[in-house]
Structure formats: structure tokens, C-alpha cells
Amino acid sequence: MPAIVRITRDLLDAQAVRVLEESVTTRGDGGVVTFQGVVRDNARGKQVRSLEYDAYVEMAEQQMAQIAAEVEARWEDSTVALVHRIGRLEIGECSVAVVVACPHRGEAFEACRYAIDTLKSTVPIWKKEIYTDGEEWVEG
């Protein structure tokens, strides 16, 4: 089954995540692991009001497709969805969803961890923290 890889400006709400889960899960899958990155209200000792994400979309989607391909090659019979939202995000909203479906749970957990860790360290996406008294592009 082809992987789902996308950068979007649309809200990644519970319904959108559910659609991803249903899309990657086949009748042979016993484990579906979903990671959601969520915007939190504090970072580096400061109160965060909102976030802004920017992306080099063409390259980011290509890198994400590569990650999905790596996952599917390394964990047999796995199917991956990687969706990252960009634009302005409010506290509590989901910035990234990684869903991996596998025959067994061990592989699903490992593959999901690998996918999000690799996304964070390689995909050209940037985050700006907006505080009450300023804003800053931050790493990590």
C-alpha cells in the first residue's frame, strides 16, 4: 500500500488523524501506532502563545517520502502516514501526525519512533515560538 506523505495547512484534528489511521491499516495489521506532536504552552522557561511553522515544501515532502520508504523497507509489511501541518498553530493543536500500521506491535512502535525522530532531524521545517513579548525561530 502506498505511504501517505503530506504537508498541509489544514487543521489536523481528531477526524483527520482517524482518516489517516483508517487509510494505512489493512486486515493483516495487528498494531497501529499513532504519534501526534502537539503544541504546548511553554518552552525554554517561557510561556508560548502560539507557534508558526514554515517549510521548504518541495524538499520536505521529498524527505518525508524517503523516510516513509525507509520505514517500509526496514519493517516488513508496514504502512506509514506522515503529515505535518504548517502555518499558525494554537496551543493544543496537532503539528504532526505519524501513523504506522504493522502486523505486530513491536515493529509498529519502533517504526513510528524512527519516523518521527528522523523527521525532526532531517526534514526542512522550521518552528517559530510566539510569546507575549516577542517571537523566535527555535531549533528542535
Binding site: 506532536g37 511553522y53 514554515d54 517549510a55 521548504y56 518541495e58 524538499m59 520536505a60 521529498q62 505535518h84 503539528s95 504532526v96 518521527i116 523527521l119 525532526k120 532531524s121 532531517t122 526534514v123 526542512p124 521545517i125 522550521w126 518552528k127 517559530k128 525561530w137 527555535v138 531549533e139 528542535g140
Partner: protein, 81 residues
């Protein structure tokens, strides 16, 4: 030759534009393009020092050779996820 530079995130804010063309000498490498940008925008020096580079959608090194029409992007520290 001419390469097309695109700006994102902190770089876009500092330069005030999304993209522009940059003239570099034939056979120039990424390092020379970086130097040319710093000459044009001295205020970018410290930010660019912390950036990776990508040519035509793939990560590149300082020694990667550029070709006419290439798309060059300097990549500030990542914040995805």
C-alpha cells in the same frame, strides 16, 4: 552563472524576501555562493554560519559544485515535528 536562492524562516525575515537570483562564477561551490550572500547581506553572516545547504532539493556540502539554474537554499536549524 545564475542560481536561484530561496529563503525560509529566520533567513526570509532577515532578508525580507522569498527568493532571488544570485550570480556566481562558473564552477562555483556552495561555499562561494554563501560568501556572495554574506557580501550582499552582512547581517546574515552569523545566521548563515549555522545553516546547512540544499541544492535542487537535496542536502549539499560546502564543496558541492553549482550549475546554472540550480535552486539553492540555506537551511536554518530544523524545528519540525
Amino acid at each position: 552563472m545564475r542560481v536561484h536562492v530561496r529563503y525560509f524562516a529566520a533567513l526570509r525575515e532577515k532578508v525580507g524576501k522569498d527568493a532571488e537570483d544570485l550570480d556566481v562564477s562558473a564552477g562555483a561551490m556552495v561555499s562561494q555562493a554563501r560568501a556572495a550572500l554574506i557580501e550582499r547581506y552582512p547581517q546574515l553572516a552569523s545566521t548563515l554560519a549555522g545553516c546547512a545547504a540544499a541544492v535542487n532539493l537535496a542536502y549539499a556540502s560546502a564543496e558541492t559544485a553549482l550549475n546554472d539554474g540550480d535552486e539553492l537554499v540555506f537551511i536554518p536549524p530544523l524545528g519540525g515535528g
